[in-house]
Symmetry: C2
Subunit: 510 residues, 2 copies
Amino acid sequence: MTPRAAFAELLRRHAEVRDLSSATALLAWDQETMMPRKAAAARASQLATLAGLRHERFTDPRLGDWIAACEAASGEFDDEERAGIRELARDWRRATQLPRDLVEEQAAAESAALEAWREARARSDWPAFAPHLERLLDLARRRAAVLGFADRPYDGLLDDYERGATEAGLAQLFDQLVPRLAPMVAIIVEHAGRVDSRCFRQPFDERAQEAFATRVVAAMGFDTDAGRIDRSSHPFCTGIARGDVRLTRRFAADDLRPALFGIVHEAGHGLYEQGLHAAGAAERPGAALLAEACSLGVHESQSRLWENIVARSLPFWQAFAPVAAEYFPAQLAAVGAEECWRAVNEVQRSLIRVEADELTYNLHVAVRFDVERALVAGRLAVADVPAAWNAAMQRLIGLAPGNDGEGCLQDIHWAMGGLGYFPTYTLGNLYAAQLWETAQRELPRLDEAIAQGELVVLRDWLRASVHCHGRRFTASELIERATGAPPSSEPFVRHLRARFGAVYGVTLPG
Amino acid sequence: MTPRAAFAELLRRHAEVRDLSSATALLAWDQETMMPRKAAAARASQLATLAGLRHERFTDPRLGDWIAACEAASGEFDDEERAGIRELARDWRRATQLPRDLVEEQAAAESAALEAWREARARSDWPAFAPHLERLLDLARRRAAVLGFADRPYDGLLDDYERGATEAGLAQLFDQLVPRLAPMVAIIVEHAGRVDSRCFRQPFDERAQEAFATRVVAAMGFDTDAGRIDRSSHPFCTGIARGDVRLTRRFAADDLRPALFGIVHEAGHGLYEQGLHAAGAAERPGAALLAEACSLGVHESQSRLWENIVARSLPFWQAFAPVAAEYFPAQLAAVGAEECWRAVNEVQRSLIRVEADELTYNLHVAVRFDVERALVAGRLAVADVPAAWNAAMQRLIGLAPGNDGEGCLQDIHWAMGGLGYFPTYTLGNLYAAQLWETAQRELPRLDEAIAQGELVVLRDWLRASVHCHGRRFTASELIERATGAPPSSEPFVRHLRARFGAVYGVTLPG
């Protein structure tokens, strides 16, 4: 078989596996948005069948032969094709390295842990969840060992989400970042009275909320001919296929912010998914293999950039405060852009990560990173997690949870097997600020454009700088190519200092 | 391998193939109701991939070994299991008999024919469609020959839709039915002035239409925890899985009837799909293999029974005319049950099958059956279809189309390869009337219950008599078991005579 023929076989099998993934994504989307209640058991069976088939088709040993044939003749392929072969080979090796019984044991353990976690959280009952976490930790370590990370299990977990990231590298980023956040928070909470968010804490008609948020998403350039927006109990974005990116949202009856920032966040993810196919992935075979997200951190950088850096900026509210006043004249006609802008940048020490503001958010992640590293390394026993958690919360945020339900049981991630997932949230924030600084430099009139409601100019810059590359580069390489510097926490610190200094009228340490 | 072990393998593979079918059904439902426009190409690829995998998994030669092992030890299985093995074996033999290139050629020919048909219908251009029908006929004959129907190709086509039905048997049913319809029609059109449907031909608010129709569907006992209702440009029902049966509908702004009768029709299909799983299909292995529709005719009997026999009856309107008046006081507050009932039973000679009333509907089917049989047998050339069609329309309905777009090009069925499909519509009408006569006999207070809006009593009777058997029996066996007599056109003729005699106040011949 010629290398080109082997490559053609690889592309065919890749397309088949991609189609199975798309079908799986549609089943999962439907489950959260449309599926009738009594279909749950049948849906679980359908998802398991597709997962099994996908695994079987993808781990076919013939793929190894085709990959080897392509790798042995790399001169026959262009750069993009070589990168595509490299990524496919990496996925194939990881999939074939993991023995089926380990994968199945992990799936069963996660399923049991999820159920136990829901109950344990409701009852604030850590001991009920502890044996599940014990088992998941054991499986995670075995998994890391199989994948060649026996000595550095946390790196093995990270590799699932942020290829190339390491525990040591992350620790360095957090060490730079965390000590600079606490002093900022301390100053701001002393001036808490300078921000008044009552204008957004009023009853808002749900249909008007929907219409307003949809208008913002349209201004961002999200293409609803290649996607849609529905409701679900937890907002998410799913890239089902080329031309099919779906967002979901929910509403709060007495606060405009959750619906607005929720959908802007998901639309940030959605623009990335739509942009993955912008570079002709259907036309060039190399591009077809690369049209996937680079990493969770890069994905999150897109959502956080739009949600926080753009939609909580003064120029954004210069454009959209008058629009909001059209939809909600009774509540907002008398409220100006500055007041809106301050109200969406309220800082508070709080217990719950998903409700945290931009300034304190990464402290929540730091708590989890600390606890998680210690767990995976075996320095912390599962039984001691609540104490370690509460101590870290007190130390970093200055608050301790009243119970484990609002403490170490608040997040779903561990229960779903997502050890090593949390740090990607902070990476997303750092990448976002670094990309934003570069965009401002390269597009000198960007703030003016945003103040006119012309958000598409930023989408187009992100498309060209980030989206169109898919997974051709690692996250670190991608950020360096886009911004001229390796990932750093400096731009993010500069951003926080400028923003919250201005919002609260204080001078913050850098 | 023991017979029981072989049976377990069969069940496992059956479940896998069923899950692939469910995923396919969801993708297809989504395509008609939710999918964004630019996802079309990706969706086509997903559907093709799932179809290919399904075929590959189902035609695995090992299934033949497992089937043989079960068939050789049939004493080890109970009646239900034996029936399940028989049905699975039949499907497997048909799937494996058809060579892949024939299946693919057929799929490609249908795809091309569909596109050509849409254009040809719009331009009333039979010669543009003719070569496609020629090709589909050739493929259909080859298909029938492969399946063992070389001498009786029309029976081979019927076998896809109505297992066990034959051209000769159908011809006999039509020969009994058709000569008795024309005299009824002739009498009624002389008294056309006795029915006035203007009360339904007014503007009706769409949300109120939706609410009213949903209330009727709820009264029928359609379980929306195990299904849902959405919109699509052509209404349909799809049984995606156990606990997941979905209906769609559309609305006419100036006529209440299309939305109402459309959704009642689809809900009739939907109750059948929900009832297939009523008999514990998840618990007993034999039942799991049998929980599929018996035939298209039986499926259609359920939709037509609800749409025509129930929802166009006087007792139904005694219950629902007051309900309709609640939703549409301006249009219907002054309209009584009798007037509604007459208005939904208006008879007219017409050109378009899907708009035809209950009395003339089967004459439209008879036209198609005549033309189709002659085509398949080679007695009629494709080029001569328009002339044959128009002559049959004139003879049976007394009208000739002005062009082929409203004549022999009106239906999608031939273009989608559905030769042999049309007669199942008439079988549905006959089965429905026969089941209804039996239900009335066995439930003496059925009319009273319906007049009280208690429709679930009929659903439960149908569930026990028809739905729960799935495909355990042939349609003919099923009808005979449920009604005590083989399928016949007599109950239907009696029904028409009684109904239209009463609506038009005339005595009709029997």
